[in-house]
Symmetry: C2
Subunit: 400 residues, 2 copies
Amino acid sequence: MWLDFRAMRTLILGGDGYLGWPTAMRFSSRGHDVTVLDDFSRRRWHHERSTGSLTPIRSLFERVDAWRELTGHEIQTMVGSVQDGEFLDQVIAEIRPDVVIHYAEQPSAPFSMGSRRQAVETQQNNVIGTLNLLFALRDHVPACHLIKLGTMGEYGTPNIDIEEGYIEIEHKGRRDTLPYPKVPGSIYHLSKVHDSHNIHFACRVWGLRATDLNQGVVYGIETEETAIDERLVTRFDYDELFGTALNRFCVQAVIGHPLTVYGEGGQTRGFLNIRDTLQCIELAANNPAPLGEFRVFNQFTEQFSVGELAALVQEASAELGYEATIENVPNPRVEAEQHYYNAVNTKLLDLGLQPHYLGPELVRSTLKTIARYQQHVITRAIAPKTVWRPAELSGEAMSG
Amino acid sequence: MWLDFRAMRTLILGGDGYLGWPTAMRFSSRGHDVTVLDDFSRRRWHHERSTGSLTPIRSLFERVDAWRELTGHEIQTMVGSVQDGEFLDQVIAEIRPDVVIHYAEQPSAPFSMGSRRQAVETQQNNVIGTLNLLFALRDHVPACHLIKLGTMGEYGTPNIDIEEGYIEIEHKGRRDTLPYPKVPGSIYHLSKVHDSHNIHFACRVWGLRATDLNQGVVYGIETEETAIDERLVTRFDYDELFGTALNRFCVQAVIGHPLTVYGEGGQTRGFLNIRDTLQCIELAANNPAPLGEFRVFNQFTEQFSVGELAALVQEASAELGYEATIENVPNPRVEAEQHYYNAVNTKLLDLGLQPHYLGPELVRSTLKTIARYQQHVITRAIAPKTVWRPAELSGEAMSG
């Protein structure tokens, strides 16, 4: 296997984040030449709200120093924004990456729905940032493999099976394979749809190659590398903006708050363990898309409804002595609460993905980690304040 | 009929443009209360290139003064950019329009492909501008009818019939009606796809109402109102960035240059007369989409290939004594030059659209207008300088 090894110049955009930092360590541990780029937007958005990661994450430089000290591997850092086209162009020209792993996007649906300003910030950062990247790749390293984090939320909840990026349509006696239609559920999810269209174009017209990973909801705190030392821990968000349902439920169970299920809880989505995210990224990088291809993988291992997740957390926490109750609260989002959902996810399995499935054991391990930092939980940050449809709207819009 | 008449507070974004200005006069002549908003981007982009309209367009204030003098109707003006969210919010709050007709977008595919800067300017102006508008409508006039100019180019050239916005898909024994898949051919066309997704979301989630007019290529200079007085004339672009094939062919015929067909000339598109654009806009405004609906009309009256257009211009110009030759030049774009194309366009016909079909008479009339301003033709501006795929790319990308 090592006979085949070739170190990849790997550029990780958003390399200070929840997935970016563990990805950087994973690729570095494999002997790749890793650079992380970040502008610390996520830390800033937390500062602005006096919220933060439950785990005590270190600054990027401290992380990189600890990683060097512990493993002897050097991770390069670049500080700046993908929105700055000149800067990004220079970075790409200098590093000439073999692979770019692009996490540098505003990742929160509620954040994007909070105000016009936040909506614009989301689409501007995500869409313009990715557009800047596509031009830089075209102009300096057109054979570079772009691995882009998309989301399963691009598809919405159609009444037919969700395929991986494309669908063959027979219509009035003719056939074509076309991009799978998208009905995303927030301004954030829309930004990912826009990215997908822009990247597809760059592959078709400029011959770039890209893998769009339409990722489900990620859970879990620990990877092989974060477990080495507390200085290498990755962030854990549980607030209304950046936390996800499973994280929220786990924190609520530990602090003795009812698990708050939005609406009926029949909302079904794809999920995966953070360890599997890293596997998927490695599989994509080691098996690059052919030149000119916009390849789409649905990156999740299991489907759950929100209600099922709450029940799982309730069960697992009971074994640790937490008595969690489940409370159905008004849904701040506009979404179907009971719907058909069946998404294909075979392409990454075909490449060799070995899933870590979600069970009581993982939940208990997460609960224990949370318990360790319990005194730092910022309770006021958990309840949803951002609503998809402002209250005053329903009345006025209905009156026509 | 006048018993039913109700003056609409009409806001026209991009009201200084090729279609915006004639639309303003049409709605004003009908007795509606019209405000035009523009930031003169199109005039600026021409200034930057020392190009301009062949017709001697007046400044916005001169136009509005002439319109008042000739008809007694007052058109209000607002100067500013849709990219300025605060400004647009204040405009919507103040005017409280019944209908917004949104033309305020960068409309050129070659412009959007010229450089990273131009690509970013295009998507930023178009996508963020429309996003700002959606928030302003949501917050101040959620029952307002948004009429948005899209483009047939959003669809690309699929191998199945193009439907009007949505397609019913049967897949693995289940059915759903979903947005028609989009394969747009430039950064500009992509921006319109992004807009469509954003507006669809605003209708679904906020209950707004919108009509997306996926317009074909517009030709023609004259409308009922522009013909009243030369001061009311609308712009006529023929340069490589803002001119379209038919305009370019007509100018080339008059100045004795071969008609330059890009590539094989089998590229087929939908076309319509500017008079029919105005009809369509009026039909949409008089028959608003229901609250909560994102309605899509394919707005064109005929399909032609580029080669057919050139042949038509050659024929019509011969009758006026111009000897036009046809020259197939290397295609600066990346597009299929022979392909299936069949697009549905029945919804506007069902509302009462009476098409003005393209024939030698219209071409002759256009040729005569061009001849009148012939001495102002800027010849250097006609040949395509912007290419979709930079020359150096093919080699490097192929070598892997």
